[in-house]
Structures are given as structure tokens and as C-alpha cells.
């Protein structure tokens, strides 16, 4: 168990994962569930256990749409999306861990793609 990493995630997310009562409503509501290796309720539970490294290595980090449905519907105010984001920040901030690099961008563009998508992607996937 990595205590300093757990503390970092706790502080950065501002979430008290201990409030979770394991109802799974976050995973029930998640629109990206099938794309994820670790599901929202597992994020919360694994952060509670301090088992964060597997999450940091998982592609699930980049599957969360930050749509806040889990935050809105969580009966315990746990805010799973914030936990996912904190773990993602921990991951992309490691040296050389940017999930998106500028060189990749041109290939992804098309005429109609709104700017906000690029801005968002940079915000979310890079240091």
C-alpha cells in the first residue's frame, strides 16, 4: 500500500472515499462502463485500500468522460469522477507520461471538430 500516493489522491480529489457504502450506483450509471478495465466503484474501493498503482497503469483513466453522472447520483456524496481525475493527474504528471502529445493532434483533426475538444484533451491528458 502506497500511503503517500493515497494521501496525494485524497487531497487532490478532495474526496473522502471512506463514505462509500458500496452500492455501485456509480458503476450502474457510468456511460463508459464497458470500456473500462476498472469501474468507478473499483476506483473508489482501490483508492480506499491504497491500491492505486494498477489504476495508474490502466487505460480506464482515459475512458472516464467526466460527465459527472456518478457524482450527481452517488447517494453518499463520494464523487467518484473526482477520484478518477486525481489518479489520472497522478499518472500524467509522472515524467514522460503525457497521454497526449502535440504531434499526435493533426492526425486527429477534421474540419468540424470544435476547439474545445482539443483544449479539453490537453487539459485532461497532459501535465
Amino acid at each position: 500500500m502506497n500511503n503517500s500516493l493515497k494521501d496525494w489522491v485524497d487531497i487532490t480529489s478532495g474526496v473522502n472515499v471512506r463514505k462509500c457504502m458500496r452500492c455501485g450506483k456509480c458503476s450502474a450509471t457510468c456511460p463508459s462502463y464497458d470500456e473500462m478495465e476498472y469501474h468507478p466503484h473499483q476506483f473508489v474501493y482501490m483508492v480506499e485500500k491504497g491500491d492505486i498503482e494498477p489504476l495508474m497503469k490502466s487505460d480506464s483513466l482515459y475512458r472516464c468522460l467526466t460527465c459527472f453522472a456518478c457524482i450527481e447520483r452517488c447517494p453518499r456524496n463520494v464523487e467518484p469522477a473526482k477520484v478518477v481525475e486525481a489518479v489520472r493527474l497522478a499518472a500524467v504528471r509522472k515524467q514522460g507520461n503525457n497521454h497526449l502529445i502535440p504531434d499526435q493532434i493533426p492526425a486527429m483533426l477534421d474540419d468540424a471538430l470544435p476547439q474545445q475538444a482539443i483544449v479539453m484533451a490537453f487539459r485532461k491528458y497532459t501535465k
Binding site: T12, P31, L65, F68, Q116, V119, R123
Partner: protein, 266 residues
């Protein structure tokens, strides 16, 4: 005539010019003055949740402070901008540590403490103009049109910060549709995500979400969808198999108010 500080954001000046154009034309027709600040910065695109990091909040606070200095409420149309700016303001007005940090960074003469009132364009229609007054001004009612309002994820959530409508059973866009003469379609997927964030990275996941949304609207008998978000519009049009047309709500508004053509020729 009431004046608002108008924050368009990057997308409205590039890929979503219609959203902007019709918003301004309609506001004028409704007697609302939208004044764009001389300088504005990108809102940040996505709200960074990190509870203890001020840097990501700075650009939004600059905009908020500019509005405060002009002494007017701030108005946004783009769902993303609105979401980022409102969440930032919510945070800044409640989290004192964050407030101090941000103000230290910005070095403002008078610290910003969350004083600016923020309206989404739809809230302006509801709370300032009033939907009944709006209905009075409609010249081309969209009578008989079955229209599905698509809220997406950004407009309503997190509801504590957005404080716009019931996040699970909103009525603001439905009331808007009724005001411009259309028939609102009630459908469950209206507040589920279209897959916006993932669209650059994984078209298939975005497509899955967009299809789920479009299919539900179609299934419930919608003839068109309206949205306030450029990314939603892009996604629903580009990444779904549905033929259902998607419009910005401002376009319908401009049409109903009879100012669309003039705006197009501008």
C-alpha cells in the same frame, strides 16, 4: 435594456459561429444587450477538479473578475464555458484557501471572492426575459415540431455548482421549446453524455454514446434535437448513425423571433 457581459469562448468564434451569431441576433431582438469584454481568455475548456491546485482556475477567474469590474452579470452560451466558469466561481466563493491562492497569483487590487453572477443564455431567457414574454415575441412559431432537448452532461452537472435546474428532470429547455411554439419530447437520455471528451481519441466509444442518445430521441418520436454545446452537436452529427438533425437552440430561437435570415446575411 439590460446589459450583460458576454463571454463567447473559443469555439463560438471558430467552429460554432452559428451558435454565437444567432445568440446575439436574438438577444438584440429581445432587448438584451450583450457586451463582449475587450479582452478575454480561454475558459480552460475543462474544469480541473484538483481541489488544491489554483493554476487551472486562473483564466476563468480573470474572466469573472473582468465582469465584476464592469459591474454586470456574465452570460455564456457554450455549455463547456458555462460549466467551467460556474464551477470555478462556486469553488472560489466557498473554498477560502483556494480563493487566497488564486488572488495571490493574480495580484488583483481588489481580491475576487466569487461576486459575479453567471447566467447561461437559457437562464437569461428564463429568469430575465421570461419564457412567457419570449412566447409573446415569437413571430414564426415552430408549431407541430416535435423537438428533443439535449442537455448533455455539462449543462446541469454538478448540480450544486450549476444550480440551473433539476439535474435529473430538467425543464428549462423544454419550456424554451414550448415558448417558441414547438412540442417538447421528454426522453431519458437527454442528460446522458454524448462521449464528447473521448471523441478525439476513440471514435468508436464516442459513436456508442452518441447512438445511444440519438436512438432514444428518435425512439421517443423526436423530429429534431437541440443543444447548447458545440461538442455535443459535433459528436451527435458526426459519430452517430442517426439522420436526426441537430441544431443549436439559438438557431431555433433566431428563427422563431424572425431574425435568422438577417443574422445569416450579416
Amino acid at each position: 435594456m439590460e446589459t450583460f457581459t458576454y463571454y463567447p469562448g473559443c469555439t463560438l468564434r471558430t467552429k460554432a459561429k452559428e451558435l454565437d451569431r444567432y445568440a446575439r441576433a436574438s438577444a438584440e431582438a429581445l432587448g438584451i444587450c450583450l457586451e463582449e469584454p475587450a479582452e478575454w481568455q480561454c475558459c480552460g475548456g475543462a474544469y480541473t477538479i484538483a481541489a488544491n491546485e489554483p493554476a487551472t482556475k486562473l483564466s476563468a477567474v480573470r474572466t469573472l473578475n473582468a465582469a465584476k469590474e464592469l459591474g454586470r452579470p456574465l452570460i455564456t452560451v457554450c455549455s463547456a464555458c458555462h460549466n467551467v466558469i460556474k464551477q470555478t466561481n462556486y469553488d472560489i466563493s466557498r473554498n477560502e484557501a483556494m480563493q487566497t491562492k488564486v488572488n495571490n497569483y493574480l495580484g488583483l487590487e481588489v481580491p475576487y471572492r466569487g461576486e459575479t453572477k453567471i447566467y447561461h443564455y437559457l437562464e437569461m431567457l428564463r429568469d430575465v426575459v421570461g419564457f412567457d414574454k419570449l412566447a409573446d415575441k415569437v413571430v414564426n412559431p415552430l408549431t407541430g415540431k416535435k423537438i428533443a432537448a439535449y442537455y448533455g452532461c455539462l449543462l446541469l452537472r454538478p448540480s450544486k455548482a450549476m444550480a440551473m435546474d433539476n439535474p435529473e428532470n430538467p425543464t428549462i429547455m423544454e419550456d424554451f421549446i414550448s415558448a417558441v411554439g414547438g412540442t417538447p419530447v421528454i426522453w431519458a437520455q437527454r442528460n446522458e453524455c454524448c462521449g464528447g471528451y473521448i471523441t478525439m481519441e476513440d471514435k468508436s466509444q464516442a459513436a456508442k454514446r452518441s447512438n445511444a442518445v440519438m436512438n432514444n430521441a428518435e425512439d421517443m418520436g423526436a423530429e429534431m434535437i437541440i443543444t447548447a454545446c458545440p461538442l455535443c452537436l459535433y459528436n451527435l452529427e458526426k459519430n452517430s448513425d442517426s439522420e436526426l438533425p441537430v441544431f443549436y437552440f439559438t438557431e431555433l430561437l433566431a428563427e422563431a423571433l424572425g431574425v435568422k435570415e438577417a443574422a445569416d446575411n450579416e
